[in-house]
């Protein structure tokens, strides 16, 4: 803490270490740190949402792990800021009521005069600048701007956080209006911090008192001469009677507990008041049947589907049995029962009832014997002169019969080409 005083102004040098003045208590400084962290967090996560589609915002949101995480962080930082505001109010009550500190932060007409004086002095219209007390008009402007900002952000934030509760009392358009105000107020706050705060305590002269808590006598003389004068005159920080202090504490603590409890309850309600939307991800579309084909168009009617007659060829054993019992010259070996299925399988595609290419339809015995448009194709007992056999035995005809099948056909024709 003493490095601040390593280069004291010449006229103040004495043997003793130069005097320092406590400007901010530890509690004040902690409040500042917590608020600073939450403010910067709120600003980054908030502006990234306000200008969501700018490239910078997109990379911030990407870095954060998505907009829902950005929002969660924003909400967390808002809770921290609300809590520190509650603490500030309680702490302020203690300072004012128990410690009986003067209300030095209240704005007054003198502040307006100071501002005008400073303005005129800087323009060279006055010989001397404003002589100010514990809080300069610049500091008061910043403090009250912050109070205004927190109130606006709190109210509009509540409306957006609790839209359903809001519309119980207010028209729906308060919600988009709150969003506009919240975003605009954020821009105002960030710009004010950049212009006013940065210039006032960083650029003009780097003021470390919010971190060290101390100002040197020279700094006091420059910035808060009236306060310094009060201190020197013994008017500030006059010791309080311990008995009175104890009595006031006894009164204030229950009030503070009640007030604090009420405010904390309000914060709790703010945060947990309603579950705005269902958490189902995402809203489920109305179920639709996906595969509902039209009934397939039926095929054009076919007079006789293949195979036309499911005639079962007599089993060899039955044939054998009939051969032994009946006379050997009767009952021909091959009948339509055997050749019909061969025709059905191999020929019916073209020479069926539907197409009957060249007039030949081999689907029934009668049609087969009728032959093609230019004459019969089967001459009973004469396979060599049967056109069907001639064409098939040459090979290469569509639906070519195998040698075994051809042998059956030949046997059938040569045995008289009988139906049964």
């Amino acid at each position: 803490m003493t490095e601040n005083t390593s280069t004291p102004a010449r006229e103040l040098i004495s043997d003793a270490p130069p005097p320092e003045y406590t400007r901010f208590t530890l509690s004040d400084r902690l409040q500042h740190i917590v608020m600073l962290v939450s403010f910067i967090t709120l600003a980054i996560t908030g502006l990234a949402q306000k200008y969501a589609l700018s490239p910078i915002s997109l990379s911030i949101i990407q870095f954060w792990g998505g907009v829902e995480k950005v929002r969660a962080t924003h909400h967390t930082a808002a809770i921290v800021l609300m809590l520190i505001a509650v603490y500030h109010v309680i702490n302020l009550g203690y300072k004012l009521f128990v410690l009986r500190k003067p209300m030095t932060m209240l704005p007054s007409l003198q502040d307006a005069r100071d501002a005008l004086t400073a303005f005129a002095y800087n323009l060279g219209l006055r010989k001397t600048g404003a002589q100010m007390g514990r809080y300069t008009f610049e500091e008061k402007a910043e403090y009250w701007a912050l109070v205004w900002g927190i109130l606006i952000m709190g109210v509009t934030g509540f409306i957006m956080w609790n839209p359903i509760a809001t519309v119980r009392f207010l028209p729906g358009q308060f919600i988009p209006a709150a969003k506009v105000a919240h975003g605009a107020e954020a821009v105002l706050a960030v710009l004010a911090i950049i212009v006013w705060h940065m210039y006032g305590v960083h650029l003009r002269k780097f003021n470390k008192s919010m971190w060290t808590g101390k100002l040197t006598e020279q700094e006091m003389l420059h910035e808060h001469p009236l306060e310094l004068a009060d201190i020197k005159a013994g008017m500030a920080g006059s010791p309080t009677d311990p008995a009175a202090l104890r009595r006031r504490r006894l009164i204030y603590y229950p009030i503070a507990a009640l007030l604090g409890g009420a405010m904390l309850f309000a914060v709790y309600g703010f945060v947990n008041g309603e579950q705005t939307a269902i958490t189902t991800v995402p809203p489920q579309p109305n179920a639709v049947a996906i595969f509902v084909p039209y009934t397939p168009t039926p095929l054009p009617p076919t007079p006789t589907p293949i195979p036309p007659t499911p005639t079962v060829p007599p089993s060899p054993t039955a044939e054998l049995a009939s051969g032994t019992t009946a006379s050997t010259s009767a009952a021909p070996a091959v009948t339509w029962a055997q050749v019909g299925p061969i025709f059905a399988a191999k020929c019916a595609m073209c020479h069926g009832p539907a197409l009957a290419t060249n007039g030949l339809n081999l689907s029934t015995y009668a049609d087969a014997m009728k032959g093609a448009q230019d004459g019969p194709v089967i001459v009973p007992s004469d396979s060599a002169n049967s056109k069907l056999f001639q064409i098939q035995s040459k090979g290469g005809h569509p639906g070519q019969l195998s040698a075994d099948e051809l042998a059956i056909i030949k046997a059938w024709i040569d045995s008289g080409a009988v139906e049964r």
Partner: protein, 387 residues
């Protein structure tokens, strides 16, 4: 004997004639847009006329082991008008395993099996489309064992498909466009029935409107994606915006082109757009266009029964995600695609207006003080230096 000879002569002359025709067509065709250029038939490659001499006959069927009947008849007239015939493709260009009669044996249990075997030859000419299909929801379903999933030939009957796109520009022909929903309806008939009643579908079906979207405008063609995927859903606002931000189309119907801007600047739209840009595959519970306007049943917003410009119709849409809402006051939390003005959402308008003046006034005042302070300091330090 003479009969057989004349048959051979006829086949030979047809083959020769076809070869000449194809050669002529080849010489004239612009190969740039053609999916495929037919090869001239060779001696061992039968002509279409040869194939059709049997296959154009009515009632040509084959019974399959499943008991189903497979029609082998080609509708000659429809084939004549098909794009494949127009481009002089030979039957055997697709039916590559068939070179003569008798045909090689054919192993298929069901009619579906036949399609599943044969559609693969489409890739020989239409590789681009075929490869796109490999990424589609249909192929994924097929690979997952759903044999009903559509393959090429379910949408494009290769023996009947007429030309779909303009040969020069590659753009979909107006007639083809009108038929798209009916094609999808073969499998998705209930969705088609819904679509027919929607503002888009009715315009297409009843008056042949060419501006309204057909199935493929939203779902894509060939590489059709699962519309219930998060990525598809997150992209829906951009999908609708393709037409709904186009002043040329919207101007005809007096529809605002501000619908995307106003959506994206709202809480819901901002969120969905961020998901779409930052993590497209992650689902979000914020609504997209279809959650309020409907999917296949989109109606006009001023339709008294269904239009969501009417608060009573909008409230149930809000309640799907905000079930505890009871008052239609809540619907005004969403600005219904309006830009705030003194007549629509005046409070929003005036708050915005206030900050338009308030921010410059405050920050301007601060800047003035800061600049004057800097000036004063410089002036005084110069003076101090002179002394």
């Amino acid at each position: 004997m003479s009969h057989k000879l004349s048959m051979q002569l006829r086949v030979a002359s047809i083959a020769l004639g076809s070869a000449l025709l194809v050669a002529a067509a080849l010489a004239m065709a612009s190969p740039a847009r053609a999916a495929y250029v037919a090869q001239p038939p060779t001696a061992d490659k039968p002509t279409n006329e040869y194939c059709l001499s049997c296959h154009s006959k009515q009632g040509m069927v084959k019974e399959l082991p499943s008991g189903e009947t497979l029609s082998l008849t080609i509708d000659q007239e429809k084939f004549d008008h098909s794009v494949h015939n127009e481009e002089k493709l030979a039957c055997v260009d697709c039916h590559t395993n068939i070179t003569s009669f008798p045909h090689p044996s054919f192993e298929a249990n069901t009619v579906r099996d036949v399609s599943l075997q044969l559609y693969q030859s489409c890739q020989n000419c239409h590789a681009e489309q075929y490869n796109k299909v490999l990424d589609s929801v249909h192929q994924k379903a097929l690979a997952g064992g759903n044999f009903n999933a559509a393959v090429c030939t379910d949408c494009h009957n290769p023996h009947q498909q007429t030309r779909l796109t303009d040969k020069q520009t590659g753009k979909l022909l107006p007639d083809a466009r009108l038929k798209i929903p009916q094609t999808c309806a073969r499998c998705h008939s209930t969705i088609y029935d819904t679509y027919k009643g929607s503002v888009h579908g009715a315009a297409l079906v009843e008056s042949g409107n060419q501006d309204v979207p057909t199935c493929i405008d939203c779902h894509g063609v060939h590489n059709i994606q699962n519309p219930t995927d998060a990525a598809f859903r997150n992209d829906i606002p951009q999908l609708c915006a393709k037409c709904h931000t186009d002043p040329q189309i919207m101007g005809k119907y007096g529809i605002s082109t501000n619908v995307l801007n106003t959506y994206v600047s709202d809480f819901h739209g901002t969120t969905v757009t961020l998901f779409q840009q930052v993590s497209p595959g992650t689902p979000t519970n914020k609504p997209v266009c279809t959650d309020c306007h409907g999917v296949h049943d989109i109606s006009k917003v001023d339709n008294p029964a269904t239009g969501i410009a009417i608060k009573q119709n909008l409230l149930p849409k809000c309640q799907r995600c905000h079930p505890t809402v009871t008052t239609d006051n809540f619907t005004d939390a969403w600005m219904s695609h309006y830009v705030a003005s003194p007549t629509h959402f005046p409070l929003v308008y005036y708050v915005n207006m206030f900050y338009k003046f308030f921010i410059p006034a405050v920050i301007g005042g601060m800047l003035l003080f800061v600049i004057v302070d800097v000036y004063g300091r410089i002036r005084r330090s110069r003076k101090g230096a002179q002394h």
